[in-house]
Amino acid sequence: MSDRMDFLHPDYEPGEFDQVERRLRQALVRDAAQVRPSNRLDTILHEAHELGPVTATGGSGARRWLMPLAAAAAVAAIIGGVWWSGQDDRSGVTPPATNAPSLSQTPSTAPTTSSPTTSGPVATESVTLPVYFVGPVGGADDKYKLFREFVRQDLPVGATPAEKAKAALVLAINAQPYSNTDGYLQPWSGQTIGDVTVADGAITVHLANAGVPEAVVGDENKRLAVQELVWTAQAAIQQTLPVRFEVSGGATELFGSISTDQDFTRPPSDRLYEDVAPIWVTSPTRDQVLPASKPVTVKGLAIVFEATVNWQLDRGTTTVSSGHAMASIGAPMQGEYSFSLGRLAAGDYTIRVRELSAKDGSVSAEKAVTFTVK
């Protein structure tokens, strides 16, 4: 039954389509009811912040519509999870500085914990911060690289980039919540993040100590421990500004071997593999509970040979299914992949996404994520 006269076409006979309309409405409602959208609010807020507001002069939105679907064009979006595409979108449109007007207003001596100049109690809002950790690549050779986690955190409304960076760094030096589930290293235990300032085109991070050399095995892991802070700080302020470290007490070497007398940054997009683990799984998230009514889709980012990832779905000790999928681009670039596991019976599962060695087919990288279907 049509309840809206404005919708009636002059050619309609009264009641002509009542039956069709009712059945169509019912069919659409039933059909759509099986779609249970996953929760993407955090991702939306995160990506919107990383891309930054669209200025009156710069319309960078048009390209974004195509990205998730135009795999080949999505390369820019893939690097660091859309973060870099924000850089691309902005270049030539808006000078980066205008995206962060507060940067130059942050005196380098101001403690980053100072509250914004609001009257009355400071309102907080929940924001999602990308935080990087050093974790096992998952191959036979016991290598470590960086993994990204999205962590929710309450910050004062209108927190400055420096305040966001400090909050993210505080999270980054505490890998303890992930050490049992994901084997992330805890190179910074005992560390305290001091002031974080964003000024003069650089991010300066004050550390309470230089890091304990014995806490991290090997030069490469020490380097990655520093890089996790670099990636985290840059992601929080949404700019690839160089990162500098200053240690209380005047120490000049982090972990006793890495000079603080240098600018740190992330590698360029064709050398991300130096820092970033070959396989990231972004969805499902760790211990996520998914509805049994809907097919499960696995998504992630991969820097893998010939853009191929292999996967295996385990339930307890039983392998339920396995297969392979293509990332949008192969190494040395980081590509996006996704594949469907179909509908799964209720239960606890582990999805393992792997890169197989081109040489002998052995597992050279693997990321496992547990999730529940019910």
Binding site: H9, Y12, L45, G61, W65, L69, E125, A325, S340
Partner: protein, 183 residues
């Protein structure tokens, strides 16, 4: 910062606005996109992008009603360009699959399973809807799934109210004929 007006007046930040809009519209819009696209992942991506776009333009959009209209336009456009790209993607996948089965066939896999769970009449109706021209399908889906008014549909699709009427009429007429033929 976007949270603060030039006059110093505090108004809802983009984050707050998007959080409210998300609560009100996320599920409905993903389902709308899915009805148009028939792809779980692509539907979520399209709607996610629409929300991100509104967030990034919150300074100029500023109110919920305008934002809702913007979201609908963005989702319909996103779904349409998604359909265009799918042709390309599926050809690519076919090529990839010549070496053996891959886990890539998510469009067909999902829909095959979906169909098994649906009543026959729903399946028949949805099938008939799927064979309508794109515009008619869009108009009918927005009308009978989201209960949008003619003016709202016209705005979302960027066409005149008269065209909305005409598409709806033609679409319904075709559906009626097909339902009669099927029964």
């Amino acid at each position: 910062m976007a949270e603060r007006d030039r006059g110093g007046e505090v108004r809802p930040s983009a984050d707050e606005a998007i959080t409210e809009l998300y609560a009100a519209h996320w599920t409905g819009l993903v389902r709308l996109a899915w009805l148009l696209l028939r792809d779980d992942l692509a539907a979520e991506e399209v709607v996610q992008d629409a929300f991100i776009a509104v967030h990034r333009r919150w300074d100029t959009i500023r109110d919920h009603q305008a934002a809702s209209a913007y979201l609908r336009r963005a989702v319909v456009n996103g779904a349409r360009s998604g359909l265009r790209h799918r042709g390309v993607e599926e050809r690519y996948v076919t090529r990839e699959q010549q070496g053996g089965p891959t886990a890539y066939a998510r469009h067909t896999e999902a829909s095959a399973e979906d169909h098994a769970l649906q009543s026959e009449s729903t399946t028949t109706m949805i099938g008939a809807l799927g064979r309508l021209p794109q515009r008619q399908r869009e108009v009918l889906t927005m009308r009978y799934y989201l209960d949008l008014s003619e003016a709202e549909i016209a705005d979302a699709l960027g066409i005149s109210a008269g065209s909305v009427k005409a598409h709806a009429h033609r679409g319904l007429a075709t559906l009626r004929d097909r339902m009669e033929a099927a029964s």
